[in-house]
């Protein structure tokens, strides 16, 4: 195939992936604590056979490839839920710690509930990690409230305290689905700001995603047109050059 077609194809492939990322953002526009992703591209230079005898030498070919996912950690809107054990973090870079099956995981989704054992868990039933182990409520706990520094209290007294951590390199966090992030070397946050009875909504901006989506579809279709023109050009060339002049 000709280089122009390969280059166009490389662009179309990353555009399709970018579309997948946009679709995932929009699907999660109402997911509490969801952080939007953006697919970043980079130029991939492909050397070709060089011929420097001509006036201008052959240049390297410039392909495109997807390079990395950038998580956008801007805070989402914080809304009141009326559930006293829900919690939101009022900054951009701290996380609640939960005990996943494969070790500690980190989340911004504060839609917590109490399970049958009285333990504070996520909506998947994963225990929320407190500073002194699991956070356990008893039947005597009424009027549960969460103070701004992450202390959970009830009429009985102190119940527990949220463990809140941050990371030096936020972009290296890996999404695992189910509102969980995996990361290494968490750094404890000394003075977290926890908002009880509230959750942080998704930080997906619909307008931004839709305009990105339009951009993706338009560049995809224009590339498709360019590719078919290249193909036409080639078939014309074959027709014309292949004609035998009798």
């Amino acid at each position: 195939m000709e280089n122009s077609q390969l280059i166009g194809l490389s662009r179309q492939m990353v555009l399709r992936r970018k579309m997948d990322v946009i679709a995932n953002n929009l699907a999660n526009i109402n997911t509490a604590g969801y952080k939007a992703d953006n697919l970043m591209f980079k130029e991939h230079l492909m050397p070709v056979a060089r011929m420097n005898e001509f006036q201008s030498s052959d240049r390297k070919l410039s392909y495109v490839e997807d390079d990395r996912i950038a998580h956008k950690f801007a805070p989402g809107a914080v809304v009141d839920t009326g559930n006293p054990v829900n919690a939101a973090l009022n900054d951009e870079k701290s996380f609640f710690v939960v005990q996943g099956p494969g070790g500690e995981r980190y989340t911004r989704n504060g839609e917590f509930d109490i399970n049958s054992q009285g333990q504070l868990v996520t909506s998947d039933g994963l225990p929320v990690v407190g500073q002194d182990g699991p956070i356990l409520f008893t039947t005597e706990d009424t009027n549960i409230s969460i103070s701004r520094d992450g202390l959970i209290t009830s009429d009985r007294g102190e119940v527990g305290r949220f463990q809140v951590v941050t990371f030096n390199d936020m972009q290296s966090l890996k999404k695992e689905g189910y509102s969980l992030f995996a990361g290494e070397n968490p750094v404890p946050v000394d003075a977290p700001v926890v908002l009880g009875g509230r959750v942080e909504r998704s930080n997906v901006q619909g307008v931004v995603e839709i305009s990105r989506m339009i951009q993706v579809t338009r560049s995809y279709t224009s590339l498709a047109k360019a590719l078919s023109q290249v193909s036409e050009l080639r078939s014309n060339a074959i027709d014309t050059l292949g004609k035998l002049q009798a």
Binding site: R17, L26, N28, Y178, T217
Partner: protein, 261 residues
């Protein structure tokens, strides 16, 4: 094309969201109704370029990989058990609970149902029953010549009968509490059932520490806030529309591909 499927999970989730919201709005005037909230989570991610994989023999690694998500799912519809507003009805057998606790109701199949709906009646046998005729526990039977019924804050049911002026105590209403009342199973008819997630009930008299008090001639309204529900509905509808746009855009891209030659 994956975007098609991802967007369809988004549309499904928003449909559920609208269902939950419309059920809340439909029950805006249901006594003791507790609203639901749909909770979402993102689905699993696929690694196209794994973070930390090596990029050269000298030990350089990928700092940030490429992960493509696969959409959204409804993780839970959690029940918001906040107190609804208490409204005066003037009917002497209407009882509202201020604070924690549920009335216990004997259902026809013998199980115990729990309710916050305190609109009680007296049946032909003089027993205290719900509007569906299910007996309220512990059973209270009113004499035929009952004149005045008083239910005090602590749940004591007192009456005067016939021509007598003496107040007679008939019984004591109790309240049941759960570790996790949001884990109760709603069975309709304003009744909840105990589940493994809710824990076993603890029963005590109203006014005990941790239990609410009763208020006669009042009913607890639904805790549905119509303004919040309508704005949730608008948000869900817009999200649904955006996801359908994604499907359309993905379809356009596919048709561009198929029209290549």
């Amino acid at each position: 094309m994956r975007a098609l499927y991802i967007a369809s999970t988004g549309m499904l989730a928003q449909e559920r969201n609208v269902e939950v919201t419309s059920n809340n709005i439909a029950n805006m005037r249901t006594t003791g109704f507790k609203k639901f909230r749909a909770e979402f989570q993102d689905l699993l991610y696929q690694d196209l370029r794994r973070t930390g994989s090596s990029t050269s023999a000298t030990g350089t690694t990928v700092p940030v990989g490429i992960q493509i998500g696969s959409g959204v799912r409804v993780a839970a519809t959690s029940r918001i058990m906040s107190q609804g507003s208490v409204e005066n009805t003037g009917k002497e057998l209407d009882v509202a609970i201020r604070g924690q606790g549920f009335f216990q109701i004997t259902m026809p199949d013998g199980r115990v149902g729990y309710t916050r709906d305190g609109s009680f009646e007296i049946d032909n046998n003089g027993r205290l029953v719900t509007v569906d005729g299910y007996e309220v526990q512990p059973g209270i039977t009113f004499p035929n010549d009952t004149r005045d019924i008083t239910i005090n804050n602590e749940g004591e049911v007192q009456v005067t009968t016939g021509n007598s002026t003496a107040v007679q105590t008939l019984g004591q209403l109790t309240l049941a509490r759960f570790v996790n009342k949001a884990g109760l199973d709603a069975m309709g008819d304003n009744l909840y059932l105990e589940t493994g997630a809710s824990g076993a009930p603890q029963v005590s008299t109203p006014g005990t520490a941790g239990y609410g008090t009763l208020l006669q001639k009042h009913l607890e309204m639904a805790n549905v806030n119509s303004v919040a529900e309508i704005s949730d509905l608008i948000a869900a509808q817009r999200a649904y529309e955006m996801n359908s746009r994604v499907i359309k855009a993905a379809d356009e891209m596919l048709s561009a591909t198929s029209n290549l030659r």
